[in-house]
Amino acid sequence: MPKRLDILVCSGAACISNDSTTIKNKLQAVLKEHNLEDEVAIVETGCMGPCELGPVMLVYPDGVFYIKLKESDVEEIVKEHVIKGRPVKRLQWTTPEARRIVEEKKQIPFFEKQLKIVLSNCGKIDPENIEEYIAVGGYEALAKVLTEMTPEQVIEEMINSGLRGRGGAGFPTGIKWKVTRESAGDEKFVVCNGDEGDPGAFMDRAILEGDPHSVIEGMAIAAYAIGAKQGYVYVRAEYPLAIKRLEKAIQQARKYGLLGNNIFETSFSFDIEIRIGAGAFVCGEETALIASIEGKRGQPRPKPPFPAQKGLWGKPTLINNVETFANVRHIILNGSKWFASIGTETSKGTKVFALSGKVNNTGLVEVPMGITIRELVFDIGGGIPDNKKFKAVQIGGPSGGCVPAEYADTPIDYESLKKLGTIMGSGGVIVLDEDTCMVNLAKFFLDFTVEESCGQCVPCRIGLKHLYDILDRITKGHGKMEDLETLEKLGEEIRRTSLCGLGQSAPNPVLSTLRYFRDEYIEHIKDKKCRAGVCQFEVKEEEVSLEEKLKGII
């Protein structure tokens, strides 16, 4: 039940040392005395700011700010303000500063828990004006590496930062740069993977649209580190605005001499071209992407050799994701130590997630690695609409899996997610409530991967279709108990034997829902029941008529 009043007691360190705990306890006791516990909520908050005026307290919805509280004041506040609705003027703070805090606390906590590094410029600067980017320190990192650092130092800095690929697999970026630098070749390339294909994920789009120069700068720094002169950005055709802004950004960078020959009057030259994808999901896989840039059919090939050894036109090629490149300038400017101080032991920095599904605030959020799923869904996402029950999150899109509500306190990093049977992926997070059928969800993602399989290798082309058919049967009420075993066995086989990441990860949605929501599968098969009410079961006509017939005979 919603309370009539919310009393926010500041529990920042300064207020606590000023005895705010006593105030809170007293408040609790006095409210109880007057039987107001059900009407008034006490909320302990983080530091509100004006520590020198503590202990402080804020009352909503009135927006009254009390300062320098003593235990003896509490009784008066309850009797006058809570019961009679007359704020205690003597203790009230009414300066503009207080008004600001009152307003601030009311705001959506969406932005509060976020830490914006990659997205810091998105929504702030004009992406079509290079000077606004320069105003916030743009191209300073490039200037720094070209004038003060050797390529080896740049690579060492990247390794020390602990940055891992943001495209999904999480390979250490610095190591990739090192391998590419050390590969023999007269010519090398830098490629930016902007073929963001996961349904619901749009962090790369937001970066390319909102801060395209940060990607260009990251690529130029990488080119200097590995010894490349030419770069390509591969963007999907479905992102016309991103392409337009990036095109404009490249032109402006050329005009300002930040791309082209002898950048910052050094011997370093670098330029970038855009290549537009034709809408195939598999082209996000690096070897397929290379084939597509070369003008061939977008199909993956076996690895090794890795692109770092033999990539574009057989030359050593560095491929990183848009978000990975966007991190580079911040690491160079603020140092690897700073970057490594954010996040967890094995996953450093921040990650941008695309939050969607059954959650109040949807959109892009950038949070430090190691934040829990609960914080993401409830604090930033604002919880589940219509008081529905939180069921699970689907992380990593068609290559990822579901994490059930029981594991909501799991910190989000590469390793923890892997343990739970999902992957970080590109960062799509779909929140599911009690109205989501897990079998149907697995079917939805399978439908997508079956459609997007390039058809080159058998496990992916035929295996996935078979998985899909079984799921389809179960959701229509024709499933058999043996199907569950087949799903698991076949899923494992596909995972083990597919040629590329698409097939290797495509069974994840099925396997993870089977792991955590097996009873739902069983309900579908045995009881022809879908607890979410999503699946429509077909009645088998022959079965009914046969029974009827038998009844007539006996």
């Binding site: 705001q107 959506i108 969406f110 997205l119 929504g123 000077e131 105003a135 950048i263």
Partner: protein, 121 residues
């Protein structure tokens, strides 16, 4: 481009961004990412420009940016005023944009029902 050139541009552009020595007193930044545009940011941007022109507000500039992330509250716009915290508005309509120009920018009263964040400049 030399290193000194970059620093010079930065110095100049920083001032413009912070409005200190620029001509403008107020800057309206409309989020023009795909999410914003899909939610109607173009109409909102047009309404801002139109209203600013109609009132002949010489010291107000209307500009664009990418998206901030909060897609469910698009279209989103920020109002930057010299020496004041930045006010972020969400769920905007062309009418709301006109009200913001009239009530917030001309008369100094933010339109609270559309405010989603107030942050330090």
């Amino acid at each position: 481009m030399k290193l000194e050139d970059l620093r010079k541009i930065r110095e100049k552009a920083e001032k413009e961004l912070k409005l200190r020595e620029g001509k403008a007193r107020v800057k309206i930044v409309v989020g023009m990412g795909t999410s914003g545009i899909a939610a109607g940011a173009r109409e909102v941007l047009k309404a801002f420009i139109d209203e600013v022109e109609k009132r002949n507000l010489q010291d107000v500039i209307v500009t664009q940016s990418g998206e901030k992330g909060l897609s469910s509250h698009e279209p989103i716009a920020e109002v930057w005023e010299e020496g004041k915290p930045i006010v972020v508005y969400g769920n905007l309509t062309p009418d709301a944009a006109r009200r913001i120009v009239a009530e917030h920018i001309v008369n100094g009263n933010p339109v609270t029902e559309y405010v989603i964040e107030v942050k330090e400049a």
